[in-house]
Amino acid sequence: MALLHVENLRKSFGGLMAVKDLSFHVEPGEIVGLIGPNGAGKSTVFNLIMGILKPDRGQIFFKGQEITHWPTYKIVNAGIARVFQIAQYFPRKTVYENVEISAIPNEIFTRAPDPTPKTLQSCERTGLCEHSSHENHCICREELPGMLPQGGLRRLELARAIGTDPELLLLDEPFAGLSPAEVDEISHLIASLRNEGQTIVLVDHNMRGVMRLVDRIVVLCFGEKIAEGTPEEVARNPQVQEAYLAGGGF
């Protein structure tokens, strides 16, 4: 059974058809790349999956359960987490406190365990530990997110997403705005998450960057799926080449 199954999803903004009858699925353990030129509707697809936007029609299934009209928090608790293109953090909380929010359960009256170990684990998996900390013992950074470089902010986003224990991770342009060195760091991080068995859907307009990371690629153009397959198959597809040339190349 597919982990995520999107069927005939449609969303328009006024006269603009942002997503047109899109269907795709994601198998457990897979990394799927959702690529397309700017304005192809990639981020809209993520917003629809996360319940931030409501589709005009179509359905979204997660683990066989329909989640189309669920509120965001419920979708997150079901096991989908999203890393935003523009970092969404708490500017007056430290890195530790930022990550901690994801480890706190959605119950007001609860005897749930202390969120500290989970917070530290999220920091450790994303490389947000204090440099001076002891071996085998991670202490999350105590600085404010505003002090972090772009790559650090991306790690923080990943840590906040991982903290919700997702079965499916949606990454929205994880390499946007990063220096070449930071791109390498973050792709190593994504590769290590994949090796841990994390299922990931990755959005990017740059196909070359995601080629070596993904198992399968879905190509969007003007809200429509124009190709699907392994990176090699997709790269050879003439329709894809045309779309990219028309849209400014890749």
Binding site: T72, Y73, R82, Q88, Y89, F90, S102, N106, I108, R160
Partner: protein, 336 residues
């Protein structure tokens, strides 16, 4: 200012000082501080909702009124004792808070604030319409006293320490709550609500909870104030000025940290009393009339101007400013 220990020690020091100084206070100041303690309860109650989540309520006096009128009228007409009517008043305030919060929290920013302002205005109308029963703008006397001693001095002490107990209890609970997981979520909602939703938290549920706690605390203060006054005073239970002063107190002391609202509450009420006393100072003969009328007329304006100047230099509020100075000093010592 984030640490739980720091907030508890500020709270502890403040309430201990309040408990110890009482016997040395002149009678006038004792009365002022008795009511300042109630006001501090209001300000802390406002802070747990508005200060922490950033949903600014202009109309918290509404919850004072709901609890105050409930306990006062039940006591007056049904003759129930205050140990029954005060909890009923608080329950009514919580109920009103819950009923109101569900539609109100769909609105954000200025729209939310405006809708909260309408509540006490509507409630005041209702009280006037039902004047035969509520006493309208004149209020009602004859409500059972919080402290039924025949001796004035004993009564004053009893009122002071009863309200001190309420303030201390509320302070302990709110400082604990504000530094608990729930407090962390409320703070996070103020900073970035979408990111909290993305962390799997139902922000509406937390905001409604904060609303209920806030209404409960403010209502508790309102219910006690009625019995400390031994009367239902329309002008105090329906005062929009008090409603706005809750915001001023919290902002002056430092928003969203509870102890800031506590200090701000004393600063506002204490400051007003200082200005009043200044206005009544014995001045040299001849200048007396002039100075008196000048001070009396301008006292409040001067006081609020001073508060604005204070805010200008410490936008984050007094307590965070002091904490920052303290930390910098300590940092210098360590560095040197």
């Amino acid at each position: 200012m984030s640490s739980r220990a720091v907030r508890f020690s500020i709270l502890g020091t403040t309430v201990i000082v309040m408990a110890v100084v009482a016997p040395f206070l002149p009678s006038k100041w004792m009365t002022t501080l008795t009511y300042a303690q109630i006001f501090a309860v209001y300000a802390m109650g406002w802070d747990i909702l508005s200060g922490m989540t950033g949903q600014i309520s202009f109309g918290h006096i509404f919850f004072v009124a709901v609890a105050g009128y409930t306990t006062g009228l039940l006591n007056l007409y049904v003759k129930w004792p205050i140990w029954a009517t005060i909890p009923l008043g608080v329950m009514m305030a919580v109920l009103a808070g819950l009923l109101f919060s569900v539609p109100a929290l769909r609105l954000r920013g200025p729209y939310f604030s405006l809708i909260t302002l309408i509540l006490p205005l509507a409630a005041a109308r209702l009280v006037i319409i039902l004047a035969d029963w509520t006493g309208g703008e004149l209020g009602k006397f004859g409500v059972a006293a919080l402290c039924p001693f025949p001796d004035f001095k004993a009564n004053q002490y009893c009122n002071y320490y009863s309200l001190w107990g309420v303030m201390t209890g509320v302070g302990l609970f709110l400082v604990w709550l504000s530094t608990s997981r729930v407090g962390k979520i409320l703070e996070a909602i103020r900073e970035n609500e979408e990111a909290v939703e993305a962390a799997g938290i139902n922000t509406a549920k937390y905001k409604i909870f904060a609303f209920a706690v806030s209404a409960c605390v403010v209502g508790l203060g309102g219910a006690f104030s009625v019995h400390a006054n031994e009367a239902i005073f329309f002008n105090s239970l329906m005062s929009l000025t008090t409603s706005l002063e809750m915001i001023v107190a919290s902002v002056i002391g430092g928003m969203g940290i509870i102890v800031g609202a506590l200090w701000g509450g004393f600063l506002v009420r204490g400051g007003e009393q200082v200005i009043r006393e200044l206005a009544q100072l014995k001045l040299p003969i001849g200048t007396e009339g002039l100075a008196l009328s000048f001070l009396e007329r301008w006292a409040t304006l001067i006081f609020f101007t001073l508060l604005i100047i204070l805010l200008f230099f410490a936008r984050q509020g007094l307590l965070p400013l002091l904490a920052g100075l303290f930390r910098r000093r300590r940092g210098e010592v360590r560095g040197g």
